[in-house]
Amino acid sequence: MIIVRSRRLALGVTLMVSALVTVPVGIPASASTPVKAATAQDPKILRIGVTQAVDSLNPFISITRTGTDILRSQFEFLTTYSQGSMTPEGTLAEKWETSDDKLTWKFHFRKDVKWSDGEPVTAKDAAFTFNKMLDDEVARTANGSYVAQWESVEATDDQTLVIKTKVPQATMEALDIPIVPEHIWSKLADIGAEATYPMVGSGPYYITEFKEAQFTKMKANKNYWRGAPKIDELHFIYYRNADAAVTALQSGQIDLVNRLTPQQFDALKNDPNVALNNAQNRRFNEIVINPGAATNDGTPIGDGNPALKDVKLRQAIAQAIDSKTLVDKVWGGYATEGAGYIPPVFADFAWQPSGKQVRKFDLDAANKALDAAGYKKKGDDGIRLDKTGKPMNFRLLAHAEANLDETAGPFVKGWLKDIGIGITLEPVSDDQVNEDTTRGDFDLAFSGWNANPDPDYVLSLQTCANRPNAEGKGGTPDSFLCDKTYDNLYKKQLSEFDRDKRIDLVKQMQSRLYDQATTVILGYDNALEAYNKKAFEGFPLQPADKGVIMNQQGYWGYYGATPAGEGPVPVYGENGENTATGDGTTEAAADDGGNTGLILGIVGGVIVILLIGGLLVMRGRRKTAEDRE
């Protein structure tokens, strides 16, 4: 039994013990109600967790997904994609027409659209933006591909914009270029300089603060021409560690998060506060096989293994990859099995192989096919020899830390080993993958693209013309395919205005691609998102049926964000007006009274108490020691 003589010592010990007791009791009590307090006066904030850092918030420079997503809410384009069906609808441009030769486009601007500082938005702002891009190459960094074939841009008056192009350009109805206010940006000496905040914009929100690698804050634009959004602020918060973002969602630190992995998605299934969105995505994932990379005039480039020029070898490789297993193991079932080049979300253009053309996953058949093609197996390690007698070991280029690449890589390696082909996995940075694939320095590589409602862009990736020029620039090659049949079909569909005929041509192209096997479609993964349903009623999805909330081709998800109790969630028609009626409201979130402050107070208090207690104990003991002397 310890007899404590010193009062100080006793006080110290008591404080420490009481602190240690309070903590386990106090903190869980306040942490069990994770919804952040929201009184009537507090601004309504939507806090979004993003796992990709913003490179820049200058609309002429930014190319990251996160950056462009933010800028889409900041600046209107001439047109946007509707919420329901993802067709172009006018925003700044109310209507437009084109000449018979399709080389002259006239856009008629909507009246009464204002910048967030009150100034009117006119055609002159658009003319300034586009002309800047034509004159200054720095301004072409992000979206230069749209204006590459333009001849001139002119605002004939405040409400009319005339653009002349050198060749007919299909994308004129959907120019994804942020229009900036001339009265502010014309004063900048360097168009690529960092923006100043708050940033004047024409979209539903404008950026007020940007702390790199931390967060971006946006405020609602009260002057927005469609009407101000329901919420007051939009915060994009950066998480280097994706799990940290999910944990933050679970504990109410953020409200919305996307790009979940299947594990994270499943882990959130049982959380009563979280609503999940399993959305069909417009992305296809593939492995490209180097069929002999060359520049657009036919000069070979890169160090791809020449054995892969044989289409039979490529077909055997394609047959040895099981999309069904990948859907299950890589995407946890949240994906669709691979088939044609165009993702099934675009039901019209999507294609499936049938009959004799189908290449089912079959290792035996692949082995037989390789035997028949003359690729003998060596003795010991079972690796086949190519036609020149060298063992076939190929490199598989992968994006490090990407869910697909990291998980599917070992499967592909295992399957190909069983048909006698050695694979070395090469996970490298995203930039390295881009570089190596552009230079043709690869054998196999993971790749993938987001398709648009109009399939022209992704189809063009596989044409001969898409290969880079002699300096290695001028194209974003995918698989370096150069096939006459494919190219002819491409030209035909580009100028085919009969939709059904065009669909048929596109399907023929996909069939050709399937046979050429320079790309192996692995699957179409879904977009997995989650949000706090106690804090938010919901968000407009795009497309309206099974669509996504974030990274839309538009801003509907953010614009129509509806806090709990303020329903119904808007549904925007083909002209952008809200057509939702009725009373789809849930209970408003209970008011919890600032529990974060409570936690902080307890933590801070405990630390202080421990420190004081510790000091007292130390001094008490010394005193006692001295007393004893």
């Binding site: 799990d243 999910v246 992995t261 594990q263 994270q264 193991k329 070992p410 390696k413």
Partner: protein
């Protein structure tokens, strides 16, 4: 009766010293425990191909479900692809231990050579070498290791090189200090007076005297090298071959597969615990060895 040759005498003396040292070492309980643990783990690692089939590391052959919790079939549960975590942990020991040992041997070798040279030759050589040593000591070695790993091809060899090239300064300083002490002793002077050249003095006198300290240093350094390997693998610089896992790459997979969120403690804990146990064992051995050399540090 023939008198044993001087060399035989020397070896006999060394043998007796070794036996005495071992007795002293055996008196320390912690050292024995550490040694025992290490022996068990090394045996398990070496016998892995005999006890289990490496083919089961192939994801296409995995039989378990995704991240199943431990059961009788999978004692430590499964990973994301359905492979046994126990199997992974066992096979990872081979890579982690190999990297740790080889990297340390390289760093100690470099450090010993530089330390001895710096102490032996003194003046300009010493100043120059010590400047280089201080420079490498002061450099944020993780940054240097990452940079090296991104220049060279990814894999086990690069990691070994990166760790070896950045860990030698500590050994160098240690060996230099010890060599200075040794060379101040009279018998070295005598040897030099008798005409012993640099090589003779170093190989016959300095090296044997420095050896015990180097041995202690090595033991302690292996633990640190294993942790370094796990850090570099975690950051994505290790061997991407799924058939050759290491504890660090297992932790990386657990990280990427959201084991934390999924509550898959069996996926997250074993590699870290394994690292902790092995490093602790090496450290305990090292400290016991250290007190064999330095009586004042002995317990009790």
């Amino acid at each position: 009766m023939t008198t044993p040759s001087p060399r035989a005498l020397a070896w006999r003396r060394r043998g007796a010293a070794f036996a005495a040292g071992w007795r002293e070492f055996a008196k320390q309980r912690t050292g024995l425990v550490g040694l025992g643990v290490l022996v068990v783990i090394v045996l398990l690692a070496l016998l892995a191909p005999v006890l289990t089939d490496q083919e089961n590391l192939d994801v296409t052959k995995a039989t378990g479900g995704r991240m199943e919790s431990p059961s009788w079939e999978f004692l430590l549960g499964t990973d994301r692809a359905g492979r046994s975590v126990l199997l992974l942990t066992l096979w990872s020991a081979r890579i982690s231990l190999t990297v740790g040992l080889v990297a340390t041997l390289i760093s100690v070798a470099i450090g010993t050579v530089i330390g001895i040279l710096a102490a032996h030759f003194g003046r300009w050589v010493s100043a120059g070498l010590m400047r280089v040593t201080d420079f490498f000591l002061v450099l944020p070695s993780l940054v240097l290791a990452i940079a090296l790993s991104s220049v060279l091809e990814r894999g086990v060899g690069t990691i070994i090189l990166a760790i070896g090239l950045t860990s030698w300064p500590a050994a160098a300083r240690l060996v230099r200090a010890q060599t200075l002490t040794i060379e101040a002793r009279p018998y070295i002077e005598r040897s030099k007076a008798l005409g012993g050249g640099h090589f003779h003095v170093i190989s016959k006198h300095v090296l044997p005297a420095v050896a015990p300290l180097v041995f202690v240093n090595t033991t302690l350094a292996v633990g640190s090298a294993i942790v370094s390997e796990s850090t570099l693998s975690f950051l994505g610089l290790g061997d991407p071959d799924p058939m050759r896992p290491s504890w660090g790459s297992m932790l990386r997979s657990a990280w990427l597969d959201s084991a934390m969120i999924a509550g898959a403690w069996w996926y997250l804990l074993p590699p870290g615990i394994a690292i902790g146990i092995v490093v602790l064992a090496f450290t305990m051995c090292g400290r016991a060895l250290e007190s064999v050399l330095n009586p004042r540090l002995r317990e009790g």
